[in-house]
């Protein structure tokens, strides 16, 4: 018996086939969880986000027209859920880090420079992403890992397209400084933070 394609499962699920929907979940939940984990930086939070995302997928599946791939649609919903989740958590637990704040990880084991010896690119990148402020992390993950458009990112995060771009550029700059520091970066960091803040105010 041939294995149905994702598109076939989507069509069957849209017409009310509960088994097709469950199969769709089985095929896609690891990918959705990976994105949620990268956005939230926390396993427990990622689980909550993914569960909420699939509830929204179930409710909204009849509206999915198939213009984009199902995976792209799923990523957008997951990003939206993660954004809502992090916003809610920020209100209840702590104020979000300002996106222009310089980032210092209190855990040396998370320090990309510390982990450079390990030589594991994935671990270094994951650690560097984890220490970014959530607002910066979200745009760089969605754009540079999941290839979502600036407009889609702006829509799901509830910001303007130009704000999404500014956050992306700032996130890339932070990551580059964390992963491949140049000698002059340390001297420049205080100056560039001031310029970042000026740019943020100008927006």
């Amino acid at each position: 018996m041939s294995v149905p394609e994702i598109e076939q499962l989507v069509e069957s699920a849209k017409s009310g086939d509960a088994q097709a929907f469950e199969e769709l979940v089985k095929r896609t939940y690891t990918d959705a969880y990976t994105l949620a984990y990268r956005l939230t930086g926390d396993e427990e939070d990622a689980r909550d986000v993914v569960q909420e995302a699939y509830l929204r997928v179930h409710k909204g599946l009849s509206l999915f027209r198939g213009d984009a791939q199902f995976s792209t649609w799923m990523h957008r919903i997951t990003a939206n859920c993660a954004n809502t989740f992090l916003g809610r958590r920020g209100k209840h637990r702590h104020a979000d880090l300002d996106e222009t704040t310089s980032v210092v990880d209190p855990h040396p084991s998370h320090d990309p420079e510390h982990r450079a010896d390990v030589g594991d690119l994935r671990v270094q990148l994951t650690d560097a992403l984890r220490v970014l402020p959530p607002k910066l992390r979200a745009v760089v993950v969605l754009r540079d890992i999941y290839d979502l458009s600036h407009i889609a990112i702006a829509d799901e995060l509830g910001i303007t397209e130009s704000a999404a771009k500014v956050r992306l550029h700032r996130a890339r700059k932070h990551l580059r400084e964390l992963l491949y520091p140049l000698k002059a970066d340390e001297n420049m960091s205080s100056e560039t933070e001031e310029q970042d803040q000026e740019a943020a105010r100008a927006m």
Binding site: R38, L125, I145, L168
Partner: protein, 118 residues
């Protein structure tokens, strides 16, 4: 133009979606430090892109938790569809009955008129 003024422009330019203006481009062409930074941004993007298909394994219970959340919704949807189907069939039946009754009434009246005329 100074290197620190270029840095965010290089970050924007890393995926070549936004071209550098002539003045920064001229600076980069003459500055080894900025050229090195541009290379690092391209490397960063390549490394980030390579993460796309590296999956993080979730806790083994997650699938069951998702399905447990979705099943009640699926059941509600199924019942709604069933009720809607019944309503549609009932509507058709009512319309057909009304049509048949109307046809009988018209036929009866026509027959009565014919009887009177004859």
């Amino acid at each position: 133009m100074r290197c620190d003024q270029i840095s965010l422009l290089l970050a924007a330019n890393a995926d070549e979606s936004e071209a550098l203006l002539p003045e920064p481009a001229q600076h980069v062409a003459q500055c080894l430090r900025c050229q090195a930074e541009a290379v690092q941004y391209r490397r960063l993007l390549r490394d980030l892109g390579s993460m796309r298909h590296q999956l993080v394994a979730p806790d083994a219970r997650l699938l069951d938790e998702i399905l447990a959340g979705v099943r009640p919704l699926a059941e509600v949807t199924r019942l709604h569809r069933k009720a809607r189907r019944k309503a549609v069939i009932g509507g058709f039946a009512a319309a057909a009955t009304a049509g048949a009754a109307g046809a009988i009434v018209i036929a009866t009246r026509l027959a009565a008129r014919q009887n009177i005329a004859s």
